[in-house]
Symmetry: C2
Subunit: 411 residues, 2 copies
């Protein structure tokens, strides 16, 4: 009998209790021991639940209970989650979390603390919900050098963009629909501003390259300014617009960036629609491997949490391939160093000549009903620095730049 | 320093030596110890190689060497691989293999033997080459019940079908091109007859459902009889033809089947082209997760082998979630129990009435230049038994049935 405590009885927390109960026999077989929930921490009360007697408001009661071997942190946020997780690890318990904010902010410290105490800190559910990605990344691809990771990491924004692309729905209407369907929260900022995607690409980059990539090193743009015009122009480039988290080795370091991108329809990411997530991992020898599935949902996420619990129970000490060092930020270079094709949409007089003067040859794009004073185009691969110079030149000539995005996945 | 021996210096074997050498530092870091190849078994000699001194023709020399902790079996075939692997496990060494024929034939026995001796028998590279699938299946999805697995598991046949679909190339010409490009062997039978796919779906089914599914329980059809006419009719159904390995829980047991299928273009498997593989795993709570990548190639496969070596070195005893019991065949039911829509193409006089009499309402398909005495159609879901009855009825009326396939992935 191995006792588990769950911190937080929200969507994921109640899902973890449900999965542990529902599949108790088969989980017990795989874990080699019967797993049960001994305590649930929540400030709320749930008197109607059959397991109401498991609730406590005292974290102390959990951390001081020697029977509890694994603590599941599914409260969200960094405070007080970080303190609770740290205390649990120090008390010699392994910790499993789905909290991407915590992992992106404190992953290196918590992996190190876990190792120090002979325990594990696992977070499969923090990226991609039920899609196995964290463990394959550090374990199955351990023999390869990872060069690049590109992911559609947020189901809410992918749903909104899919509605915009397929049904010509505006951003606001698509967001409203996502909220009505329960895919977006009342305050959707973390999703639509790209913050959630940024946290997840930080976690993936840190694992892939071994040193913590902190969110403040990752330029992050959301999808609130993506328009139906952009989507139509992208179509003319045989692309769709997706919110990507992107990280890549470059000049001995790495960069990471989050933002809406034009994604070639030839890429395996282009067809990833609705609330689905997909993560493309490019290994030096393995080539491209893509992991695809529903990136969220109560039970898929809970199921990933429970597989981590099984890992904690069956592992004999810290899992060796999970290596994540802290960093001072010098491991990350400015994403502007990366030269990629760019998409631009601008408005102004005499655009054709001004664009030509600034960019040389570009690929002009069409859309139905394009006004005479609007142009959109894609460029040859250029760095972010070059782009800034050229944008300054355009602006100086009175051109209004309405939109710029990176282009990804073209041959 | 941990010594490894490699049995067989073919494509994968030489790749394993290359990967271990090329990434020695980072592999050493992940494994927690320096890994090196101490011996290579091959009946051939390679005097020109810088590591020519590592070769031996004596397996005895390897199995009796107490320094060798992990044996890599990449010879292929069951004999003598099975004897060598068994002897290595009995000698207290872990074994890693990419040999799907061996795993499909002897997986349960070798997993048990490894456990008995406190070792591991790992085979990530046996399915999907460099795509992580074996470990995610038993480990990351450990908390879920797997309901179904459908895979494009053979790159050679997928390349041939892609050429047929995209370029209207006949089977023979596409096979010839695959051979010229090195994707198909001089004797392509194991690929084009579906034998390779059958072995792989057996491995996946055994792991997913916990009991060995032997190849002789799996009806297996290749792609040699797929014609351009079938491909055109499939197109009219908004489908492509893919060679699928398919396994699913049914009536408390499971079935598995291998054969060309009509795959809906709405399915994430439809866009998997050329030599790429993809495996869709349907979990009870996780829903669909798809793993996609190049399914073969020297270095991707070698990289998967090396990640297994790292696992053997870092694991403390047998990996708990890898559970695979032997079976007497009673775990598998006849795949004819499965009711799915079927595709048929037939030739004869008065077809319309005869088809209607046998099948009731069907969905008739069109193709350019369809002769008057040919019809193709898809049916409602019917079992294999029903299908056989109806085919007998058609045949009794003088109808020639040219093709039958299962239809997969429609809503």
């Amino acid at each position: 009998m191995i006792a588990v405590a769950v911190l937080g009885h929200g969507v994921v927390g109640s899902g973890v209790v449900e999965v542990l109960e529902r599949s108790r026999a088969s989980i017990g077989k795989k874990a080699g021991a019967d797993l049960y929930v001994k305590k649930i921490l929540d400030i709320r009360e749930f008197p109607h639940l059959p397991y109401a007697h498991l609730f406590t408001k005292s974290f102390e009661e959990i951390v001081s209970d020697p029977e509890i071997r694994v603590v599941v942190e599914v409260m969200g946020g960094v405070t007080p989650a970080f303190d609770f997780v740290s205390a649990a690890l120090r008390a010699g318990k392994s910790v499993v979390t789905s909290n991407k904010e915590l992992v992106a902010a404190k992953g290196a410290a918590l992996v190190a603390l876990a190792r120090e105490h002979g325990q594990n800190f696992l977070f499969e559910a923090s990226v991609g919900g039920g899609i196995p990605i964290i463990r394959p990344l550090h374990q199955s691809l351990a023999a390869d050098e990872i060069d690049e990771i590109v992911g559609i990491l947020n189901g809410t924004t992918n749903f909104i963009l899919t509605k915009m692309i397929r049904e010509n729905m505006g951003f606001d209407a698509a967001l409203k629909m996502a909220q009505e369907l329960g895919y977006a929260e009342a305050n959707p900022a973390a999703d639509v501003e790209g913050i959630d995607t940024c946290r997840k690409i930080c976690i993936l980059a840190s694992l892939a390259f071994g040193s913590h990539v902190y969110p403040d090193k990752v330029p992050t743009q959301g999808i609130t300014s993506v328009t139906l015009e952009d989507i139509q122009y992208a179509e003319d480039e045989n692309c769709v617009i997706k919110l990507l988290g992107h990280t890549r080795r470059l000049n001995g370091k790495c960069f990471a960036v989050t933002g809406p991108c034009l994604v070639s329809r030839e890429s395996p990411l282009a067809g990833v629609d609705d609330v689905f997530n997909a993560i493309l991992v490019r290994g030096e020898v393995t080539g491209d491997v893509v992991f695809y599935g529903k990136g969220a949902g109560k039970l898929p996420t809970a199921s990933a949490v429970v597989s981590d619990i099984i890992d904690c129970v069956t592992a004999d000490g810290p899992i060796a391939t999970l290596q994540w060092s802290d960093s001072d930020g010098n491991n990350v270079i400015d994403s502007r160093e990366d030269a990629v094709p760019r998409y631009l949409r601008c408005r102004g007089e005499g655009l054709f000549a001004k664009i030509g003067a600034a960019f040389g040859e570009v690929h002009l794009l069409r859309r139905p009903g394009k006004p005479a004073d609007e142009e959109a185009f894609t460029t040859a691969p250029i760095s972010g620095y070059e782009l800034e110079e050229k944008l300054a030149a355009l602006t100086a000539q009175g051109v209004e730049v309405l939109s710029t995005m990176r282009v990804w996945g073209q041959q």
